[in-house]
C-alpha cells in the first residue's frame, strides 16, 4: 500500500568516526535517492542510520508514514541465516521458487549459500529484499560484485520501487537506474544536490559520460544507460 507523504528526516545528525564527524541533515522523500561519495565518506553509516540499526551520536532522525523498512547489506555474507539457499530465501518470508528464478538460481535451493560466488550471493540477497514491498528500502552497494547483466536486471527491480523511499548508496558509474534525487558527500557532510536532471550539473563525482555531455552543453534527462545514450544522440544529431 502506498502511503502519501512518507519522509525520512535527518535533523542535525552526526556520528563520530575517529578524528572526524559524519554529518547529515535533510529529508529523503518517496522516489529513488542516489547517495554518492568517496570511500569512507559515510555512505554505509547513513544507510545504517536510515535503516535504524545505528543510532546517531548527535541530532535526531524522524520517520513519517514509514511502517516497514529493509536494509540490503553491502556484504551479504555477514547477514546469512540459512544453511541452504532455500532456507535463506524463506528467512525473508518470500516464495522460494520465484525468488530463486529472479536470482538465476533455480535448481540450487539445496546448495550451501556460502558455496555461491559473491556475485550470485549478492543477487540472491537483492532478489529476497526486492521480492517484498517496503516503505523504506536502503540499498548499500547493491551493484558490487554483480556482472553487467546482473546490474541491468537489478536496475529494473529498483525502478519498480519508486513509490517507496529508496536510498541507493553506490559507487557504480555506468549502469544505474533512473533516479529522482541526488545526494553527495562533501568530505563527510551529506549534501542534497537536488532533483534530477538539474542536480546532475552539481554532481562532483558524476560519471565521465555525464561530465562529458554537460561540458558539451547537453544535460541528460537522467542517469540510466538509455538516458546517456539519448543525450549523446542529441549532440550527434
Amino acid at each position: 500500500m502506498e502511503v502519501e507523504g512518507m519522509e525520512l528526516a535527518f535533523e542535525g545528525v552526526s556520528v563520530t568516526r575517529g578524528s572526524y564527524d559524519i554529518r547529515v541533515s535533510g529529508s529523503f522523500c518517496q522516489g529513488i535517492n542516489l547517495v554518492s561519495g568517496r570511500v569512507g565518506s559515510g555512505k554505509s553509516t547513513v544507510a545504517a542510520m536510515a535503516a535504524g540499526i545505528l543510532s546517531p551520536d548527535g541530532g535526531s532522525i524522524h520517520r513519517k508514514g514509514i511502517s516497514t523498512s529493509m536494509l540490503s547489506f553491502q556484504f551479504p555474507e555477514s547477514g546469512l541465516t540459512g544453511s541452504t539457499v532455500k532456507e535463506e530465501v524463506y528467512s525473508y518470508g518470500v516464495h522460494d521458487a520465484d525468488t530463486l528464478a529472479m536470482a538465476d538460481l533455480s535448481g540450487r535451493g539445496e546448495d550451501d549459500p556460502l558455496s555461491l560466488s559473491r556475485g550470485e550471493l549478492k543477487k540472491l540477497s537483492l532478489a529476497c529484499v526486492l521480492s517484498r514491498p517496503w516503505d523504506l528500502l536502503v540499498l548499500d552497494g547493491p551493484f558490487e560484485a554483480l556482472d553487467c547483466r546482473g546490474k541491468r536486471e537489478v536496475c529494473r527491480w529498483i525502478e519498480h520501487r519508486r513509490s517507496s523511499i529508496v536510498i541507493l548508496c553506490t559507487h557504480e558509474q555506468h549502469i544505474l537506474p533512473r533516479i529522482d534525487a541526488l545526494w553527495e558527500f562533501q568530505e563527510h557532510t551529506l549534501v542534497f544536490r537536488g532533483l534530477v536532471p538539474e542536480a546532475l550539473a552539481r554532481w562532483d563525482l558524476a560519471p565521465t559520460s555525464i561530465k562529458t555531455l554537460i561540458s558539451r552543453g547537453t544535460l541528460p534527462f537522467n542517469v540510466s544507460e538509455d538516458d546517456i545514450r539519448e543525450a549523446a544522440c542529441r549532440i550527434q544529431g
Partner: protein, 230 residues
C-alpha cells in the same frame, strides 16, 4: 609466466592456458569461476586435477600477496597498523624497517590517516585499502586481487590501479567487473562456466564483444567522441 595445464577444480575446467608476466584481468559473468581460478593460482586451494606453475615454482612456493573479495575476511588483528605490519613482524624484521615500509605502503594506498583506527570501524572501501596495503607490504612476486575494486569509488580505483601498475610487482592478477579497469591490463582472460572463452590483449578480447555489456564504457565514449567531432 603462469602455466595452467589440465586443471579441473570445482567449475574450473582449463585444458591449457599461459598467462604472461605483467597485469592480467580475469573477467566473466557471475559464477564463471573467476575467484576459484585466482584461489588456485594463489596456492590457497590445490586443484583436484592438473597443475599450475609460476615460473619454475608451484603456487605454494611463490611469494603471493592476496586480497580477498570480502575485505576483512583474512584479517588477523583489530588495529589497522597491526594488520598491515603483521607480514613483516612474522618474519622478525627490524622495527625500523617495519615502520618505514608501513609508512611507505600506507602512503601509496592513501590510508596514512587510518593507521590507528580499529578495522571494524572502517568502511568497506577502507577495509579493501588496508587489505591491499597488507598484501603489498612484503613486496610479493605476484599480487592476486579478487575483485578489490568493487568497493571503491572511481577516482580511488583509478589512482590505486596506477600505483599497482607502477609499483614494481612483476605479476598482478585481478578479477573485476569494471571493464575500464580490465582494459588497462596487458592481458585479459575471459571465463564463462569455468572455461576460457577468450584470452589475449584487451583489443583482441574486447574486439570480440563490441555488442555486449562487457565492452569497456570508456572505449565506447572515446569512439563516440571521435564520431561526434566528425
Amino acid at each position: 609466466m603462469i602455466i595452467i595445464r589440465g586443471v579441473r577444480h570445482g567449475i574450473i575446467d582449463i585444458p591449457s592456458c599461459a598467462i604472461p608476466e605483467g597485469h592480467t584481468a580475469v573477467i566473466g559473468p557471475n559464477g564463471s569461476g573467476k575467484s576459484t581460478l585466482l584461489r588456485i593460482i594463489a596456492g590457497l586451494e590445490e586443484p583436484v586435477r592438473g597443475c599450475i606453475t609460476i615460473g619454475e615454482q608451484s603456487p605454494g612456493e611463490s611469494a603471493v600477496g592476496w586480497v580477498h573479495e570480502v575485505p576483512g575476511q583474512n584479517s588477523l588483528f583489530t588495529r589497522v597498523r597491526d594488520e598491515i605490519t603483521s607480514p613483516l613482524r612474522f618474519r622478525h624484521l627490524s622495527c625500523d624497517e617495519i615502520t618505514s615500509r608501513a609508512a611507505e605502503v600506507a602512503a601509496q594506498t592513501g590510508i596514512s590517516s587510518l593507521m590507528d583506527r580499529e578495522l571494524a570501524t572502517l568502511s568497506g572501501g577502507e577495509q579493501v585499502l588496508v587489505a591491499l596495503a597488507t598484501a603489498m607490504i612484503s613486496k610479493p612476486d605476484i599480487l592476486v586481487l579478487d575483485e578489490w575494486d568493487s568497493h571503491l569509488d572511481a577516482p580511488s580505483s583509478a589512482m590505486l590501479q596506477n600505483q599497482l601498475n607502477t609499483g614494481g610487482v612483476r605479476t598482478i592478477l585481478q578479477c573485476t567487473q569494471n571493464m575500464d579497469l580490465a582494459a588497462s591490463a596487458d592481458t585479459i582472460v575471459f571465463l564463462t562456466k569455468g572455461r576460457v572463452k577468450a584470452t589475449g590483449t584487451p583489443l583482441d578480447v574486447f574486439g570480440k564483444c563490441i555488442d555486449t555489456c562487457y565492452y569497456p564504457p570508456s572505449w565506447r565514449w572515446r569512439e563516440w567522441n571521435l564520431r561526434s567531432k566528425g
